[in-house]
């Protein structure tokens, strides 16, 4: 059972930072004590691998705008026993290079860490071609692939370190947009691959969120608390391998689940939770995410409103899920 309980002081506004910032910062810091190389595909400034490049220019290799080649190059580097990170936007890391990731990295189970930034709708103005809403689905279907989606800056930093210390292929999903760093306020915070973080216990329903949606899940729980509804909040930073034990416990304890992800409801976190609970402890599960649609250009806040990725919408789904309980 996770013991991470919500100790966030209500009188403090958490600092905001994008998870991609932590990716770059973690690479630069871990580079001091670990031997690894970093690849990027002409996006070092955006993915933040540029921070590592500046510190360790001899261990950074730009592959140019050729993501498929980059992934198989990473596989070759890993095949010689060297640790390697390969970085691009989620759309190109998981989308463009899917087959290279599957066949060159996944099938031989090579020790490649994929750092995919700019995932989800919060890419904003660049629009649909760059808003990857399918990467969790794509990556979790690859046998042996670990899929991580950290919620905030503190968790993202810990996620990079955990990935580095884990042997095997790992897909890490980071966002472009700044997000409140709630994890920084968790007591005894510890990141463990495959173990969800319980922000708050509850009795009426559980919100299982990942990535950008975690802080909105916390806000939703606060809204519901004002109505006398006790909603647990779980940050499921590891989509695969999924924390089956925790999900079953929360389903048994609260009898209703709402998932929240910045991803298509098809194939992502919500689907993974449904698959798990259908086989173990079937309870109503409602999924918050993009509803089988492409995104569009716009500022991030109105985009989140447009696609229902809000605390208000999560709270609404929690009320519905509770009503569905028998």
């Amino acid at each position: 059972m996770s013991t991470n309980l919500w100790k966030f002081p209500t009188d403090v506004e958490p600092s905001k930072k994008a998870t991609r910032e932590s990716y770059g910062a973690a690479l630069a810091e871990l580079g001091e004590s670990y031997d690894f190389v970093v690849l990027d595909a002409d996006l070092a400034a955006a993915t933040k691998t540029g921070v590592f490049k500046k510190k360790y220019p001899d261990r950074f290799f730009d592959c140019g705008i050729a993501e498929g080649n980059m992934m198989a190059v990473a596989a070759g580097i890993a095949a010689t026993g060297k640790n390697v990170f390969a970085s691009s936007f989620a759309m190109f890391a998981a989308g463009r290079a899917f087959e290279q990731v599957r066949n060159a990295i996944g099938y031989p189970h090579l020790n490649v860490k994929i750092g995919a930034t700019h995932a989800g709708i919060t890419v904003g103005e660049d629009g649909a071609t760059h808003q990857c809403l399918e990467d969790i689905a794509l990556m979790r279907t690859i046998p042996g692939m670990t899929v991580l989606c950290p919620a905030d800056a503190t968790e993202a930093f810990a996620c990079v370190k955990a990935a580095l210390e884990h042997y095997g292929p790992v897909y890490m999903r980071f966002g472009r947009f700044a997000v409140p760093d709630y994890s920084a306020y968790l007591q005894d915070y510890r990141f463990e691959i495959g173990r969800g973080v319980v922000y708050r216990e509850g009795s009426d329903a559980t919100i299982v969120a990942t990535g950008y949606m975690v802080h909105l899940a916390i806000e939703a729980a606060k809204i519901l608390e004002g109505e006398g509804i006790s909603a647990a909040v779980v940050d499921l930073h590891t989509i695969k391998p999924i924390d089956r034990e925790l999900l079953v416990r929360m389903a048994e304890q609260t009898g209703a689940i709402v998932t929240a992800e910045e991803h298509n409801v098809i194939g992502g976190l919500g689907a993974a939770v449904c698959e798990t609970l259908a086989e173990t402890c079937p309870v109503p599960v409602l999924r918050v995410g993009t509803e089988d649609t492409f995104g569009r250009s716009g500022k991030v806040p109105p985009l989140l409103e447009l696609y229902g990725l809000t605390a208000g919408h999560i709270a609404e789904q929690v009320r519905r899920a509770i009503a569905m309980k028998k």
């Binding site: 140019g64 198989a72 190059v73 070759g76 060159a104 031989p108």
Partner: protein, 282 residues
């Protein structure tokens, strides 16, 4: 090249070809044509050129080989078995459900296989990664990659070509097996990738065209590749698809199918005649 050594290599290559036919025949499917076309170069690499040790296949400083045209696994398996990486008898388990000899090479299961390949274009990129890693660590191992001619239609081959030249991977040597045929017909008719020599030169590679079945030329080419500094080398090897089995030579249909019983015996007889001719040489 020493005449006796050259004759010995031809003997070995002939046995490698027999292994290809035995494996594909036992499997009832597979890719004999492009396996036979590369048998001489593969024999030279594993018996003359590469620093490998069948007793220690994972030796960290070994030379690496990546079969980018992974469908010609029967040749890779046959040459590895011949070199002693695993028993030759095992070749007859090719593609069987209980065999480690997968239809396309699996590095996890087979000693001596340095990279899992099969999806065209991936292998050459992985070879680039291996070469880059060696360069970072100041290692002196060399990396070899075998490309198909049809494979050069994959865009990724050119991404990798750009990468290898950009990072001056001079310990990377790719061989492109120009047998001129792909599944749907002659390469130049399906999707003409020529002139490949000029294209690779334009991408910054040193290019050496050779006859893929002439051991003296093969030896000279690999020596020249090793002596070439500051850029990767491509050996453009003009070969005969199906080489050594009379009815398969230059026949597109033998790209990806196994002979039946009668034709199997004919193939074995063709190769036996070659073996006999080698022994009769003065």
């Amino acid at each position: 090249m020493n005449k006796l050594r050259e004759r010995e290599l031809r003997r070995i290559a002939n046995r490698v070809r027999v292994g290809i036919i035995e494996g594909v025949y036992a499997a009832g499917c597979g890719h004999p044509g492009g396996s036979l076309s590369i048998a001489d170069i593969m024999t030279y690499l594993y018996f003359e050129k590469m620093r490998v040790d069948p007793e220690n296949p994972g030796m960290p400083d070994r030379d690496r080989f990546v079969l980018s045209k992974g469908h010609t696994a029967p040749c890779l398996y046959s040459v590895l078995a011949e070199r002693g990486f695993f028993p030759r008898e095992e070749l007859k388990t090719l593609r069987r459900i209980d065999s480690r000899l997968q239809g396309h090479p699996d590095m996890k299961g087979v000693p001596g296989v340095d990279m899992s390949t099969g999806s065209l274009g991936l292998g050459i990129s992985a070879a680039c990664g291996m070469a880059l890693s060696g360069k970072i660590d100041g290692k002196d191992y060399r990396v070899y990659a075998m490309l198909g001619d049809g494979e050069s239609e994959e865009g990724q081959v050119w991404e990798a070509a750009m990468f290898a030249a950009h990072y001056k991977l001079d310990h990377l040597c790719a061989i492109l097996d120009w047998n001129g045929l792909q599944i749907d017909g002659p390469v130049v008719e399906v999707m003409n990738p020529t002139p490949l020599d000029e294209k690779f030169r334009a991408f910054g590679w040193h290019v050496i065209p050779i006859d893929a079945h002439d051991f003296s030329a093969i030896e000279a080419a690999f020596a020249e590749a090793e002596a070439t500094k500051g850029q990767p080398t491509l050996i453009l090897a003009k070969s005969i698809k199906g080489k050594g089995v009379s009815y398969m030579e230059n026949e597109c249909e033998w790209h990806g199918k196994a002979p039946g019983e009668e034709l199997y015996h004919k193939a074995i007889a063709d190769l036996a005649a070659i073996a006999e001719a080698i022994e009769k040489e003065v």
